[in-house]
């Protein structure tokens, strides 16, 4: 591959050992991809230096410090190097535990301390501690055409499709290296020719509610896998929450990183623009039968109608969602047999605190939590057997990871389950 002068300088170690190790990793990665060059980026979102119980144990003999974990794991280096301040705008996505509600999440005090120390080390290196899977709801909103290097599949698909910015689904190691170097392989979705549609999906049923968008996303992801779907038909105009649930679902059942909604999303003013000179490899329809099949697949792990856990906020809830949830909960009390956890970012909770949502959820017997979610944190209330979820993404992962049953339905159906302790959801 071709390296520029500054890239060569970093690779030769003239910008310090950490940047050298970062460039070495990025070159290995770029060659694995078959990329010919790097692109400059100043917007990187990852989980730099994140501490997990496994990594703490694994690197205990080497001190398990921030620099140890960042060097040996994030940069995949064989030696520990001094980690300087980051070059780019860098933000830390979700992970760890809610520092204010760690006991609810079942975290151990020593883990909380390790996470706090890691967070301070990251902040000292100019990393913004957003602690959310929705950076676009916490102040990081890339502009159209901006080259980014983001992790978190649900954020990546939002960044590309809704905002028209450009990122591949990066990983922890590539984003940490990009934060130090401002470089990422010029491959995939950074290039115009790779942003055109591959599949055409004709939507033949009305897609309006958040749940409708989640199911459609889950269907589309399973069909197109890593390709780029172009959707036309009976689509309502999605708002931020609908985009969030659609993209997260499509990036779970498949690996969708970019989609186009004809006449709606920025790179698809027309069907012709969405496909360019390419021809759809397949045209599929999403009708009543497909919608029902998707609903049944999402509910494949639901058997027992006694619900003991309701989790909302996957991806992290927006303020509007929190206001809706608290409006339904106001003056009510959730079932004594059921837990309700709602996840959001620290930024959104700060607003929710001021607007009273946090108090309403707490008064109803629920918890508003930040930083993580049940799947990321592998944290569910003790004794959970059956969960109710309004997120296709969460229902895709959580039962498999935690060995529980789960129901999928609308946010309202989930709130009703929390209030009554019973699942009473109905197919669309």
């Amino acid at each position: 591959m071709t390296l520029t002068g500054d890239e060569q300088a970093m690779l030769e170690g003239r910008e310090g050992r950490a940047r050298q190790k970062a460039m070495e990793l990025l070159v290995r990665y770029a060659e694995a991809l078959g990329a010919e060059r790097f692109v400059d980026t100043t917007n990187v979102a990852g989980v730099p230096g994140s501490v997990t119980p496994f990594l703490q144990r694994y690197y205990r003999d080497r001190g398990a410090s921030y620099e140890t974990i960042f060097s040996l794991f994030d940069l995949d280096s064989d030696e520990v190097v001094e980690v300087p301040r980051m070059t780019t705008h860098a933000c830390h996505l979700q992970g760890g535990v809610d520092p204010e509600n760690w006991q609810t999440l079942g975290a151990k005090p020593e883990m909380l301390e390790a996470i706090r120390a890691s967070e301070r080390s990251a902040a000292d290196r100019d990393i913004r501690i957003l602690k959310t899977c929705t950076p676009y709801l916490a102040g990081n909103v890339p502009s159209r055409g901006e080259h980014c290097a983001w992790m978190e599949s649900s954020a990546v698909v939002y960044c590309n499709s809704v905002l028209g910015a450009r990122t591949n689904t990066e990983g922890r190691e590539s984003t940490s290296a990009a934060m130090l170097t401002g470089k990422i392989p010029d491959w995939g979705l950074h290039r115009d020719e790779n942003r055109l549609g591959s599949h055409r999906i004709e939507v033949e049923v009305d897609v309006q509610s958040v749940m409708d968008w989640g199911m459609l996303g889950y269907f589309v992801g399973e069909i197109v896998q890593e390709r780029i779907p172009v959707l036309t038909g009976r689509l309502g105009r999605p708002d931020l929450v609908r985009y969030k649930h659609f993209g997260a679902a499509a990036a779970s059942s498949g690996g969708v990183e970019l989609y186009h909604l004809v006449g709606i999303t920025p790179e698809a003013p027309t069907c012709e623009a969405a496909f360019g000179s390419t021809r759809p490899v397949e045209t599929l329809k999403y009708g009543e039968a497909e919608r029902r099949r998707t609903y049944d697949a999402l509910n494949a792990n639901g058997k027992d109608s006694h619900v003991d856990y309701v989790m909302l906020g996957c991806p992290h809830a927006s303020l509007e969602q929190l206001r809706e949830i608290s409006a339904w909960l106001e003056g009510k009390r959730i079932s004594a047999h059921c837990h309700l956890w709602v996840f959001t970012s620290r930024a959104v909770r700060a607003r929710a605190d001021q607007e009273g949502c946090t108090r309403i959820i707490r008064d109803a017997g629920g918890h508003l939590l930040t930083d993580t979610c049940s799947a990321i944190g592998q944290a569910i209330p003790p004794g959970t057997k059956v969960a109710a979820l309004d997120s296709a993404k969460q229902v895709h992962y959580l039962p498999a990871m935690m060995g529980i049953e789960a129901w999928f339905g609308s946010t309202r159906e989930c709130i009703d389950a929390a209030l009554t302790g019973r699942w009473n959801g109905t197919p669309p």
Binding site: R28, A32, G171, G188, Q225, E226, G255, A400
Partner: protein
């Protein structure tokens, strides 16, 4: 039953040589939430390999899907000592590329013929990552493979 080897030519993703018994799936693999990184077992609910570990196998799969935690899961599997010996896949993605790089096992893609059609679970496979060559010795097959 032993038969003559089948040779596939592809492109290096990660160099090095390894050989072992193939574990083949026709389904894409989710890393985070799809694999237990401490055992190497597939855990995705509806996956055909659910409960099967790739530890010490030659993992043959269409490609990566799902969360961006793919590389972390495969990286952790390496540290936990449950990595596959080599990987062979068709669909290049950033997840699969980065995962292969940090797992540090030989890996080849972009073949002249489809490895998913020519390799079966149980075959003996040798992966030469540096030269992008995969050698397949069909073993324990019910019917002879067509080369």
């Amino acid at each position: 039953m032993s038969a003559s080897p089948i040779i596939l030519y592809g492109r290096k993703v990660v160099g090095g040589c390894a050989q072992g018994e193939a574990l083949v799936t026709q389904q894409t693999i989710s890393g985070w939430g799809g694999v237990n990184p401490l055992t190497g077992a597939i855990i995705e609910t509806r996956h055909e390999l659910r409960g099967v570990s790739f530890k010490d196998r030659i993992l043959v799969f269409p490609g990566a899907k799902g969360s961006s935690g793919w590389s972390v899961v495969f990286h952790t599997a390496r540290l936990a000592g449950v990595a596959p010996r080599a990987m062979i896949f068709n669909e290049m993605t950033t997840k699969a590329a980065l995962g292969a790089v940090v797992m540090r096992v030989p890996c080849v893609t972009a073949f002249d013929r489809d490895p998913l059609e020519l390799i079966e679970t149980g075959d003996w496979v040798r992966v030469d990552g540096d030269n992008g060559i995969v050698e397949i010795r069909p073993l324990n097959r019910r019917t002879p493979p067509c080369a």
